[in-house]
């Protein structure tokens, strides 16, 4: 499949940890939207449509998009929302630009922490007859996944510890002055406190534009959408094999086919993975074709996924550093966009031209997305170029 118009990311704003209580949610959304527009050098007048990714349970509202129409600039504009996940907001925004019927889209997501119990808010997402009484929250679902993986792959816990250390080291570079001190989250066996991070308030916004607009406004470093895939698994954990991620395999297949990627192990200069836990990152390595389970030990030993390695993963520090739960997926995409645009900050990979963002969300990563962004519109995938 080809896009009628190829979308590009021309502006991003990422606030993965918002501290202090002096800003209301509306003000946080206004701030992040304006910051993304400023990053793009645009004003709201340049925006044709808006897609927000927001979650009623976390926001304490029904139809959360309503409140967002003002602070995002949605009044007298086309605004839609994807409450299924933050990354779905990017996908819908990209589809809208790709249709050629919009010059631009503003994509915004946020994740507040004012809810009295995030675990209880998440527990409402479990089916009321079987899972809700367990009780099941997202961390528990990730723990079940970790346990399942440890069962079939006895060394998984060792690699999970290694991934956590790697991402925390990356965070030290990415955040020389961190906006907040990442705090360990609660433990859920086999997830120790070292492998989890307490949820924090965060927000992210991106500006997407079509080819003609990019040319007209002279954007010098757009991040072109080279491939995009997304898929879901079944809701009931009992219907799934938690040791693998078939929906991510499918999402990657879609994205790589669009991008012309045949060897993902060498195609990407930089990768961001939604490491809700380090086990999630391990499962994603396999599903994305970055390394099979048999290869992971060798890849980790030679620093393949670490800073300076062949295909560094989560140079931003990942979710284990800052965990704004609902918008972690869109943050991964924005991080890769900034890497490809050459403006990622202290953790920039010099000369990054192709990047991969994996976004996962829901219980045990039910929703999976893979987004390939490139510095050049028609760059041959690096792996293909040999």
């Amino acid at each position: 499949m080809t896009y009628r118009v190829r979308p590009a990311v021309v502006g991003c704003a990422i606030r993965p940890a918002i501290t202090g209580r002096d800003r209301s949610l509306e003000e946080i959304i206004y701030d992040i939207s304006q910051a993304a527009l400023a990053d793009a050098g645009l004003t709201i007048e340049d925006i044709d449509g808006i897609v927000v990714g927001c979650n009623d349970q976390f926001d304490g509202r029904a139809i959360s998009v309503m409140m967002a129409s003002g602070p995002t600039g949605g009044v007298d504009r086309d605004i839609m929302s994807t409450p299924s996940s933050s990354e779905h907001a990017f996908i819908l925004g990209a589809l809208r630009v790709a249709s050629g019927q919009f010059r631009t889209q503003l994509v915004v997501s946020w994740s507040p922490t004012e809810v009295s119990s995030m675990a209880e808010a998440q527990r409402l997402g479990a089916d009321p007859y079987f899972h809700r009484a367990l009780p099941l929250d997202e961390l528990s679902s990730h723990a079940l996944q970790a346990s399942a993986l440890n069962h079939v792959w006895p060394n998984a816990w060792v690699f999970a510890e290694t991934v956590a250390v790697k991402n925390r080291r990356h965070a030290a570079v990415a955040w020389p002055v961190p906006p907040a001190r990442p705090r360990a989250g609660p433990a859920r066996w086999p997830l120790t406190e070292r492998l989890t991070t307490e949820p924090v308030t965060g927000a992210v916004a991106m500006v997407l534009a079509g080819e003609a607009f990019v040319t007209e406004r002279g954007f010098r470093t757009p991040a072109w959408l080279r491939g995009m895939g997304w898929a879901t698994e079944a809701a009931f954990l009992g219907d799934r094999d938690l040791t693998c991620a078939p929906a991510l395999v499918e999402a990657a297949r879609q994205a790589y086919a669009e991008a012309g990627v045949t060897d993902p192990t060498t195609a990407f200069d930089v990768v961001e993975i939604t490491d809700a836990t380090p086990y999630s990152e391990l499962i994603a390595y396999d599903a994305l074709g970055l390394a099979s389970r048999a290869e992971i030990a060798a890849r980790m030993a030679d620093g393949w996924f670490a800073r300076g390695g062949r295909s560094p993963v989560n140079l931003s520090g990942g979710v284990i550093t800052f965990n704004p739960v609902f918008c972690t997926g869109l943050i991964r995409i924005a991080e890769i966009a900034n890497q490809v645009r050459g403006c990622a900050g202290p953790h920039q990979v010099a000369g990054a031209r192709m990047g991969l963002a994996q976004a996962g969300s829901g219980f045990a990563m039910q929703y999976q997305s893979a987004i390939v962004l490139g510095a050049a519109k028609g760059d041959a995938a690096k792996g293909d170029a040999g």
Binding site: M67, V75, D76, S81, P83, Q101, D127, A235
Partner: protein, 393 residues
């Protein structure tokens, strides 16, 4: 038109009722998906993506309840996302499905959902939670008293009376009686509406939509796919969405975006979808309209905003004259509309589905003779987020 159009090739809807104790929430979704797939003459392997239509989670009592619908829509390992724009969700979902295809990414997309409003306990308690917790929630606002304020303003501005409101109910109930899928199908008289108990003046019980349970589904496809597979279709030729201010208190000024009687953003959305479809005189070029109007008074400003009349407020006299009835010049809500059926998550999808059936010539007993061009709309939030479409045979 070029060969890049997006067509509707399959439609499925429940027979909407107050309660569906016989069916779980995913069962209701499936109940609509199966006939839509049969109508499209496709199996699930042909579906490239699914757009799930679900408005407030609280209405079904499950957070992110779309996750539980994945198997009902055959979504496992497929592209899947959910839309929520409140009452407009259904038309927004069709719109999102449209962009999946218009982008060139997908050929065939299923959009589906269901609601159990009749079983949620009290929809107004849920809907109170759409307002800001600090300022407007405590009034306490609900969608009925919100639109009662709109009715009062419309009365003041355009001279609408309570009896005028009753005319809409009588018209739509008469039309719903012909539609086997409609929830409220009992024909009522002006006197019965006027004598029904006041819910929030001037809105009375029979000026209100019911709380319905049921599902809806549609299959959309690219023009190329439709031609290659020799499928029958009707076409989406205009599509748009526009939002208003969130705050009730901001609709009391003189700015056109802040007038509670008029549906400014709905009008803007219709303008854009007409422009896209090449419609310059909707009153003459449109043959049938399914306009989202959950309370009788709101059908007036929907007709106004759709420019089916010359100027705002003219709709009142013309409804009385029978121009918007089945058999009239331009039938509005021949299915009975939202006033007779409101399963919120899919109500606006039903507007698109019913319009599609009309221009297809497959609407049954409530068919508008010769309908070839139709319009549909959806209203979401606090009369805030609007979606519109033009469909053509």
């Amino acid at each position: 038109m070029s060969g890049d159009r997006v067509g509707i090739i399959g439609i499925g809807q429940s027979n909407f009722r107050s309660r569906r104790d016989d069916a779980s929430y995913p069962d209701l979704v499936r109940e609509a998906v199966v006939p839509a797939m049969l109508d499209a003459k496709l199996d699930f392997d042909a579906i490239d993506a699914v757009v799930y239509s679900l408005s407030p989670d609280a209405m079904v009592g499950i957070g992110n309840a779309e996750r539980l619908g994945v198997d009902a829509v055959g979504g496992r390992n497929k592209r899947f996302l959910r839309i929520n724009t409140g009452g407009a969700t259904g038309i927004s979902s069709v719109t999102a499905a449209y962009y999946h295809i218009a982008s060139g990414v997908c050929d065939v997309v299923l959009t589906a959902g269901a609601d159990k409003v009749g079983e949620c306990g009290d929809s107004q308690t849920v809907l109170n939670k759409i307002w800001d917790p600090t300022y407007e929630r405590a009034l306490p606002l609900g969608t009925i008293n919100m639109l009662a304020m709109s009715a009062v303003r419309y009365m003041q501005r355009y001279g609408m009376t309570e009896e005028d409101m009753a005319y809409v109910t009588v018209k739509n109930r008469r039309q719903a009686a012909l539609n086997p899928r409609a929830h409220l199908r009992k024909v009522v008289t002006i006197d019965e509406v006027m004598e029904s108990r006041v819910i929030s003046w001037p809105i009375k019980l029979m000026d209100c939509c019911p709380q319905s349970s049921g599902g809806a589904a549609m299959v959309l496809a690219s023009e190329q796919f439709i031609r290659d597979n020799k499928l029958d279709a009707v076409w989406i030729t205009g599509v748009a969405c526009r939002a208003e201010t969130y705050w009730m208190g901001d609709r009391m000024g003189n700015n056109p975006t802040a007038e509670h009687a008029d549906a400014y953003a709905l009008g803007r959305s219709f303008e854009q979808s007409y422009r896209m479809a090449g419609i310059t005189d909707p009153a003459k070029q449109v043959h049938v309209a399914e306009l989202y109007a959950p309370f009788s008074n709101t059908e007036y400003h929907a007709i106004d905003a759709a420019r089916l009349v010359g100027k705002f407020g003219e709709s009142v006299k013309r409804v009385r004259d029978g121009e918007f009835e089945l058999g009239g010049v331009l039938p509005v809500n021949p299915s009975g509309g939202t006033l007779c059926t409101n399963a919120i998550a899919v109500t606006a999808m039903a507007r698109v589905a019913e319009t599609a059936l009309q221009v297809w010539g497959r609407a049954g007993a409530h068919q508008v003779d010769g309908a070839r061009v139709g319009i549909a709309s959806g209203n979401g939030g606090d009369h805030q987020i609007f979606g519109t479409m033009v469909l053509e045979a």
